[in-house]
C-alpha cells in the first residue's frame, strides 16, 4: 500500500450566548416551551425586518481577534436562499463575501508539537429552528425558539493532517471560546457544532484529493472516529482504483460509519446576494481597538504566567489553564494562602479526582476557596493527616460543611501527643514480637509495617511521622 497524507479542514458553528437573538429582542434560553421565544421578526412573518444586535457584532469581533484574524471594517450581510421548514424566511441571513473576520490562526499542540492551524474566516449568521418529528401524529412540528439565535461560523484552512490534530484543534478552539465567554460551547445542547472536510492524497503530492464533507458529528470523539472511518474508506477506494465522489456524508454514531447524504450535483445553489434589509456599515480601527481592550488573558498566556509567577511546572500550569474556572479557583486560593505549589497539588490531584467522579465542574460544587484553603492549612499544620484530609474533602463536597466542623463532628483530629501514642505503641509491640525482633537485628524497613498497624488501630488519626519516630526510639531503647 502507498503512503497517504490526510487533509482535514473543520467548520465550527458556535452559538453565542447573548441575552437576545441576532435580529430581534427575543430571549435565547435553551429548552423552553416550543415557540415561546418568538416574535414576527424571528418567525419571518411578512413585513417584519431584522435589526442587528450590537452584542453579536462585538462577540464576533472578539472571536476574530482571539483567532488572530483581520477584522473587516466593512460590515455587510447577505441572504443565503434555500427551502427548509425550519427556515421561516426561506433564506438565512449570513455573511458571504465580507466575513467579519478572516485570515487568522490557532496554535494547536498535538503530541507535544505545536502547530498553527490557519483560520480562513469567521462570519456571523442566524440559526434555524428545530424540527420535531412526532411519530404519533405522523407529522413534523417546528420549534422556532432557536431561529435567530446568533451563530459565528469558524472555518479552518485544510491544515490538519490527522484525526488527533482535528481533535486537538477543537479542544483548543473550545477552550479559547470559553475564555472569551462568548458561548457555553456545549455540544449536547448544540451550541457548538462541527462539520469536517476530509480528503487524502499520496504523500508528497501538492494537489488536494477530492474531499467529502462529514456532518452529524455530535461530539469531539465522533469527529475523530468519523475522520478515521472516512480516511480508511477513501484509502480503500483509491487502492481499489475507484474515484472518490465529492459529497456530503452523515456520521452514524451507532454504526460508527459514514453514509452518503447528497452529491455535489445535488448541492444547493444558495443564490447569495446582499441583504437589502440591513444597510452595510463601517467600523473604525478605534472600535476594533476598544474590543481588543476587553479581551481576556488567553490560555497560553495564563500557562506562561502561572509558570513564572507561581513557579508551577509546565504540566501543572497547563492542567489548571485547561479549565478557566479551575484556574480562577486556584488563584483565589493563593490569595488566601501563599502556597501555590501545595494548592496546585491539592487541586490537580484530590479536587480534580472528586470533580471527575462527580462529573461536575468547579462552578457547580459547594466549595469556596476559603473552605478549601482551610482544609489545606489543617493538613499542613498536622491537625489531620493527608489521608484524612482527602476524606474530609469528600464530606465537604457532599455536605457543604466547613472543614473545622467536619473535623470536630467526626473527631478526626490527628493524635500527636506522646502519651496517647505510646499507649498504642505498647499494644502494637506486644502483638508483633517477631517484627520487633527483625528490627532489632537491623531490618529498619519493618518499622513501616508497625506504623501501618498503628494507623489501622487509630483509623488514620495517628500522626504517622511521629509514630514512626516513637516506635524506633522505643525499640532502640528497649
Amino acid at each position: 500500500m502507498k503512503s497517504y497524507e490526510i487533509v482535514i479542514g473543520l467548520e465550527v458553528h458556535l452559538q453565542l450566548d447573548t441575552q437576545t437573538k441576532i435580529f430581534c429582542g427575543c430571549a435565547t434560553h435553551f429548552g423552553r416551551n416550543p415557540n415561546s421565544q418568538t416574535c414576527p421578526v424571528c418567525l419571518g412573518l411578512p413585513g417584519s425586518l431584522p435589526v442587528l444586535n450590537q452584542q453579536v457584532l462585538e462577540s464576533a469581533m472578539k472571536i476574530g481577534l482571539a483567532l488572530n484574524c483581520t477584522i473587516n471594517t466593512f460590515v455587510k450581510f447577505d441572504r443565503k436562499n434555500y427551502y427548509y421548514p425550519d427556515l421561516p424566511k426561506a433564506y438565512q441571513i449570513s455573511q458571504y463575501d465580507f466575513p467579519i473576520a478572516k485570515k487568522g490562526s490557532l496554535a494547536v499542540t498535538t503530541n507535544g508539537q505545536t502547530k498553527n492551524i490557519g483560520i480562513t474566516r469567521a462570519h456571523m449568521e442566524e440559526d434555524a429552528g428545530k424540527l420535531i418529528h412526532d411519530p404519533d401524529i405522523k407529522s413534523s412540528l417546528v420549534d422556532y425558539n432557536r431561529t435567530g439565535v446568533p451563530l459565528v461560523e469558524i472555518v479552518s484552512e485544510p491544515d490538519m493532517r490527522s484525526s488527533q490534530e482535528a481533535y486537538d484543534y477543537l479542544t483548543s478552539l473550545k477552550l479559547l471560546m470559553e475564555y472569551l465567554d462568548v458561548s457555553d460551547c456545549d455540544m449536547e445542547k448544540g451550541s457548538l457544532r462541527c462539520d469536517a472536510n476530509v480528503s487524502i492524497r499520496e504523500a508528497g503530492s501538492k494537489e488536494f484529493g477530492t474531499k467529502t464533507e462529514l456532518k452529524n458529528l455530535n461530539s469531539f470523539k465522533a469527529v475523530k472516529a468519523a475522520i478515521d472511518y472516512e480516511v480508511a474508506r477513501q484509502i480503500k477506494m483509491v487502492e481499489a482504483g475507484e474515484r472518490i465522489i465529492q459529497e456530503t456524508r452523515l456520521w452514524n454514531d451507532e454504526k460508527q460509519m459514514t453514509f452518503s447524504m447528497r452529491s455535489k450535483e445535488e448541492a444547493h445553489d444558495y443564490r447569495y446576494f446582499p441583504e437589502p434589509d440591513l444597510v452595510p456599515f463601517t467600523i473604525t480601527e478605534k472600535d476594533i481597538e476598544k474590543v481588543r481592550q476587553t479581551l481576556p488573558e488567553f490560555p497560553q498566556e495564563k500557562i506562561d504566567r502561572f509558570i513564572s509567577q507561581y513557579q508551577l511546572s509546565a504540566y501543572d500550569a497547563s492542567v489548571l489553564a485547561q479549565d478557566k474556572a479551575l484556574a480562577k479557583f486556584f488563584e483565589d486560593c493563593v490569595v488566601q494562602l501563599n502556597a501555590p505549589k501545595k494548592i496546585c497539588n491539592w487541586i490537580t490531584s484530590a479536587l480534580k479526582q472528586e470533580l471527575n467522579t462527580r462529573k461536575m465542574d468547579v462552578h457547580s460544587i459547594k466549595l469556596t476557596p476559603s473552605d478549601f484553603v482551610s482544609l489545606i492549612k489543617n493538613v499542613e499544620e498536622g491537625v489531620v493527616s493527608n489521608l484524612v484530609g482527602k476524606e474530609i474533602l469528600t464530606v465537604m463536597l457532599d455536605t457543604g460543611n466547613a472543614c473545622e466542623v467536619i473535623i470536630e463532628e467526626k473527631g478526626l483530629r490527628q493524635v500527636s501527643d506522646d502519651e496517647a501514642l505510646n499507649k498504642i505503641i505498647d499494644e502494637i509491640l506486644k502483638e508483633n514480637t517477631p517484627i520487633v525482633e527483625q528490627i532489632k537485628s537491623g531490618k529498619e524497613s519493618a518499622v513501616g509495617f508497625l506504623v501501618g498497624q498503628a494507623m489501622k488501630k487509630t483509623q488514620g488519626k495517628a500522626n504517622p511521622k511521629k509514630m514512626g519516630e516513637l516506635i524506633k526510639r522505643r525499640i532502640q531503647n528497649g
Binding site: 412573518l45 413585513g47 425586518l49
Partner: protein
Amino acid sequence: MKLNELTAHEILDGLQAKTITAQAVTACVKEVIQAQDKKIHAYAHTDDAAIAPDAAMAGKYPIPIAIKDNICIKDYPTTCSSHILKGFRPPYDATVVRKLREAGLIFLGHANMDEFAFGSSTESSCYGVTKNPWNLACVPGGSSGGSAAAVAGNEAIWALGSDTGGSIRQPASFCGVVGLKPTYGRVSRYGLIAFASSLDQIGPITKDVTDCAILLNLIAGHDELDSTSANVPVPDFTQSLKKDVKDLKIGIPKEYFIEGVDAEVKQSVLEAINNLKAQGASFVEISLPHTEYAVATYYILATAEASSNLARFDGVQYGLRCQPEQQRRTPIIDLYEETRHQGFGAEAKRRIMLGTYSLSSGYYDAYYLKAQKVRTLIKQDFDEAFKACDAIITPTAPTTAFKLGEKTSDPLSMYLSDIYTISVNLAGIPALSLPCGFAKNGLPIGLQIMGKPFDEEMLFRIGYTYEQSTDWHKRRAVL
C-alpha cells in the same frame, strides 16, 4: 359638496369650526363604499370588525383612510391581493399603521392592488380588477390602483400606497390625484410586505398637495425596527406650502421627452412648465444619460429581491397550504410546489422565475451585479443633475390610463408604462405626481416632480404653487 368629496384639510377646518362631525364624514364615506364599490372595486377587504376605531383613540385626525393590502394591520386580513396569503391576519401593526392609529385615523379597509405589487394596472389581484373612476373601461394604474381609485372615487379621503417602481405615482396620475414616493428611508417599511426591499417605500395618496404634506407629516420618521429608515430630522412639511417658486431652477431631462410620450401628455406638461415659469421659476435642460437602462436594471434588481422575499410563502406557517392528491416527490417538496403553484398568479410566477435566474450561480455577475453597477450610474446621473437644478419635472406616465385588458398579454409594454417613474426608485430620491390636465377622452394627466434626497419640501413647494393656480385637483370623478 358632499362630505366624502372633501379634502382632509377641509374636514379638519370643518371640525374646528364645528360645521361637520367626524362621525358624519366617516358614515358618508362608508355609505359611498357600500353603494359604489361594486363598480370600482377599490377595496380588497372592508369588513371593519377588526379595525373599528377605539373610542379612547379618538385623536386629532379622524380622517377615513384606505390602506394598501400589503401594509400589515393587526388581526386584519393582509394579503397582498394574493391567494397565497388567504386568511393571513398579521399579529402586529406596521409602523405607519401604528402611527396613524395614534393620530386617530379611521381605517376603512385594505385597498386592492396588483398581486404583491407586481403590475401597473391592478389587473393581477386575486380579487379581480379595480376600475378607473374617471372611466370604468380603463385601468386605475398600479400597483396601488385600489388606493388611488378609492381616493379618486371619493371612497376614502386619504390612502396609503407603496411605490417600488412607480406604484404610487402612476395610479395617482391615471386617477387624477396626488401621490408621493418619499425618499428611500423617509418612511418606515416595518410591516410593509416586501416586494423589492431596496426600492419599496410607503407613501400618501391624497386629493391635493396640502393633504399630501399633512399625511407625510404623520407617517415620516426614523424607526428602530427598520434599519433602512433614515435617522434624519423630519420637518413640518406643511410649512413648505407657504413658499413660492421664485428663483428656483427646475431641470427638464432631455431623455424624457422623446418618442413614446403621448402628444396630449407632453402638451399638458409643457403648459405646467410655462405656468411655473410665469410664477418665477426658471428651467434648464438637463441630462440623465443612463435613463435608457433604467427599466432593464429595475427588472433585474426588483425581481431578484422579490424572488427571495416571496420564498417564505411556502405553506408551512401561514396562508394557503396545498398538498397534491397524488404524492409526486417528498411530502414537504410536494407541499411547497403545490402551494406555490396554486397560490401565485402568472405575473408573480414570472417575476420569481426571472429573479431566481438572475441570482443563479453563473448568471449573477452578468445580471444582478451588472445591474447594481448601472444602478449606481443612474444614481450618479441624478447627483450630477441636481448640481444644476433644485428639482426635475417630467410626465408621470407616457400616456393616460389605458383600457382594461389592453396590456395584460404583453408584459413588456406593461413594464414600459413605468418608464418615467422607475429611475426615482433606483436613485432612492423622492417624487411627487399631481394632476396637470385632462386629455380629450376625459382622463387625467399627471405631472411628476423629482427632488433631492430628503427634500420632499421642494416637491411640495413647487407642487402647491402650481396646484393653486389650476383647478385640476378640484375636479371630482362622476360615477
